[in-house]
């Protein structure tokens, strides 16, 4: 009988103590957790309800989950709170913040907290592609939570109107361009495609380079490959979409308003985070599909999104409580619920065995696209000095796409500076 497990006995004991009440100080562990929301929507409610479920099961742990803006804001708030001595024991932060957090000596590795045999099995239960951004120096520092890939949303009605097969979206770059040409209306009322170039341009670019057979950095986060010929080629392709093929608008395409553009039918295809799926589903007034990104010839996408981290300053007790919370929130059942409510990937294969999600994916096949795409996924750009290195690449990309500069030149320049920045970490 599971009732007799030591954990439950302890819970019973705690419950009994609390029931006895007066005079006995309750040994409640308080956890503060910051988390970001990058795609908008009512995700805060989903987090709150998962946390409430956890508290119901674990009356001895009190969780304060604080919504902290986008990924950048969340990191700033969490680190500022730590510096000022405010207790935060765990947070969801950008998976690519790992090197900065290690350099700041802010986090502990999960290998040091999750020590039992059962814990070690748990660490292996996630999709390996989602673990890549969370592992370095031979240890695991981040546990996947709100993880995404880039997927291609496309307007099936527009495909039909242009004489394209709506069940057969483009699989290669050539097909992608060809479809784009058919979908672009000369009067400017509908574009073939939009790939956002503000917000997270390096992320979209990570997809293009992977599709072209090249990653952007090494696994230690100490070297970048911005001037690799395949990388230059990928940027040329991105630029050509608007300049040469004229199937995408010129200038920077705004990350934040792109979804609205798609929903209003101004673009027939868009590349965006799978985290938008549920919102698109709720608001699209037309028949839409979700496909893996095309390849050249191999498909490819970076993973993205937020991981759980545990802060070093917490007490041993708090760390264990934090681990318990993380385990709960990434458990197959909760991961399945989270995935259905948002569109983010269920973080473990077991999540896709949960009855509800199986049913959901059957009735709504796009829900499984991001998962199926994981086998083509690579890590998101992440290095030491990651903010600066990322900005170098972002600036180079925008200079080429919106500013008419030569892709090779700007990438050579970005590479030279990134090498300079990363020299001390070699």
């Amino acid at each position: 009988m599971s009732f007799l497990k030591p954990k439950n006995l302890l819970g019973l004991a705690v419950g009994a103590t609390m029931a006895l009440g007066a005079g006995v100080a309750s040994a409640k562990t308080n956890l503060t957790m910051y988390y970001p929301v990058a795609v908008g929507g009512a995700l805060t409610k989903v987090v709150d309800s998962i946390v409430a479920d956890f508290e119901k099961q674990n009356p001895d742990i009190d969780v304060e989950a604080i919504y902290a803006g986008n990924y950048n804001d969340a990191r700033i708030k969490a680190l500022a709170a730590l510096k000022s001595g405010e207790p935060a024991q765990l947070s969801v932060m950008f998976s690519i913040d790992i090197y900065d957090l290690i350099e700041q000596d802010a986090i502990v590795s999960f290998d040091d907290v999750a020590t039992s045999a059962e814990d070690k099995e748990w660490l292996k239960s996630f999709y390996p592609a989602l673990m890549e951004n969370g592992q370095t120096l031979g240890k695991t520092w981040g546990i996947p939570f709100q993880r995404s890939t880039i997927v291609m949303y496309y307007n099936k009605d527009a495909f039909r109107a242009a004489g394209l097969d709506p069940e057969n979206p483009p699989k290669t770059w050539d097909e992608f361009v060809a479809a784009g040409k058919k979908l672009t209306k000369k009067d400017g009322s509908q574009w073939g495609m939009m790939i956002p170039s503000t917000g997270y341009p390096y992320w979209m670019f990570g997809a293009l380079t992977k599709q072209n057979g090249q990653v952007l950095m090494n696994a230690d986060g100490t070297e970048t490959y911005f001037n690799n010929p395949k990388v230059v080629e990928a940027l040329q392709f991105w630029k050509d979409l608007s300049q040469k093929h004229e199937v995408m608008p010129k200038g920077a395409i705004e990350w934040g308003t792109l979804r609205q553009n798609f929903l209003e039918g101004k673009t027939a295809m868009m590349w965006h985070s799978t985290g938008n799926l549920t919102t698109v589903k709720k608001n699209a007034k037309f028949d839409f599909g979700v496909a893996m990104l095309p390849g050249n010839p191999e498909r490819g996408t970076p993973t993205g999104g937020g991981n759980f981290y545990i802060f070093k300053k917490s007490s041993a007790e708090e760390k264990q409580a934090a681990l318990k919370l993380i385990k709960f929130m990434t458990s197959p059942k909760q991961a399945a619920k989270w995935s259905m409510e948002t569109g983010y990937i269920g973080v473990s294969p077991d999540a896709y065995k949960v009855e509800e999600l199986v049913e959901y994916a059957k009735s709504f096949p796009p829900a499984a696209v991001a998962r199926d795409q994981l086998k083509f996924a690579t890590a998101e750009l992440s290095t030491y000095q990651t903010g600066r290195v990322r900005k170098l690449l972002d600036d180079a990309l925008q200079a080429a796409i919106a500013g008419d500069q030569d892709p090779k030149e700007v990438l050579e320049d970005a590479q030279a500076r990134a090498t300079q920045l990363l020299k001390p970490y070699k």
Partner: protein, 292 residues
């Protein structure tokens, strides 16, 4: 002697609230920024080291610094005269006896009372290509619109325009207040002498408004170096730093790159620059202003 001593103490006590506030929030942060700008970027593993003026040398070689500096100059030149001129024009207009005057005043002032972030979000959707208000109005007229915020040539100007729209109403209030204190006798006297409305404005109203103009000018200059909110929402400084300003770059350096010493060095340069501007404004302009 005792009385002198007491008065001394009393004097200090009287100014102490101001001194405490100034020292805590102005002098101490300035000095500590300066000190921190002389050190290298440290972390718990490698502590910061004294590097002298290295941060400043690096700044001179940082192309982004020069870009944001140039952008800020353009931004200042684009926003200050335009918003002050517009404010004056609007103030003169609503100072007259017009039907619906109160409504007009309110309309001009509304942009100022809206929260910055809300304003930026509204404008984001105005400027958005294809579905934005601007494109929906201009495109049917056959005007080929640029990608306002996505084109390096127009991004900064799009932000300048919002600032003018937002600031002019605020400055108008000061001009309006000043105009209403001007004695109507002046106008009657000018009429008797046969002065044209333009001469009256140029020779009498405008010179009398100079103290207000100085005040507004100081504020406008400060504001032109203080903008970050809009940039966050609208462009994040892009594309390729085309719309990034000094303060936004300082923010990025400190909180995105965690390079506090370099951010401190940038702050010191900004402070020195603003101090210089203040000296010019108060030193030169004030002598030419006629206070009653």
């Amino acid at each position: 002697m005792r009385i002198f001593g007491n008065r001394h103490v009393l004097g200090w006590l009287l100014i102490s609230p101001a001194v405490i506030l100034l020292v805590t929030f102005t002098h101490y942060p300035s000095i500590s920024s300066f000190i921190s700008s002389l050190f290298s970027r440290g972390n718990p593993i490698r502590p910061a080291q004294f590097v002298g003026t290295d941060q400043y040398t690096a700044m001179m070689q940082d192309p982004v610094f020069w870009t944001v500096l140039e952008n800020n100059m353009i931004y200042a030149a684009g926003t200050i005269p335009a918003s002050i001129g517009l404010a004056l024009l609007m103030a003169v207009l609503v100072d007259q006896m017009l039907p619906g005057r109160a409504f007009l005043r309110l309309a001009y002032f509304t942009p100022t009372i809206l929260p910055m972030i809300a304003v930026a979000n509204i404008w984001l959707f105005f400027y958005t290509p294809e579905i934005g208000l601007l494109d929906q109005v201009l495109r049917p007229l056959g005007i080929d619109t640029p990608n306002w915020l996505g084109d390096p040539d127009t991004a900064l100007w799009a932000i300048i325009f919002i600032t003018i729209w937002k600031e002019a109403g605020f400055f108008m209030i000061f001009y309006l207040a000043a105009l209403q204190t001007q004695s109507p006798e002046l106008k009657e006297a000018a009429k008797l002498e046969g002065a044209s409305p333009f001469t009256f404005f140029w020779r009498i109203t405008f010179p009398l408004l100079m103290p207000t103009t100085l005040f507004v000018l100081v504020n406008a200059v400060l504001n032109s170096f203080k903008l970050v909110d809009h940039i966050f929402i609208l462009t994040k400084g892009g594309p390729n730093n085309a719309s990034s300003l000094i303060l936004y770059y300082i923010y990025e350096t400190a909180f995105s790159f965690f390079d506090t010493p370099y951010a401190a060095a940038l702050t010191i340069v900004l402070l020195a620059f603003l101090a210089l501007l203040a000296l010019i404004q108060f030193g030169v302009l004030e002598k030419r202003i006629h206070y009653r």
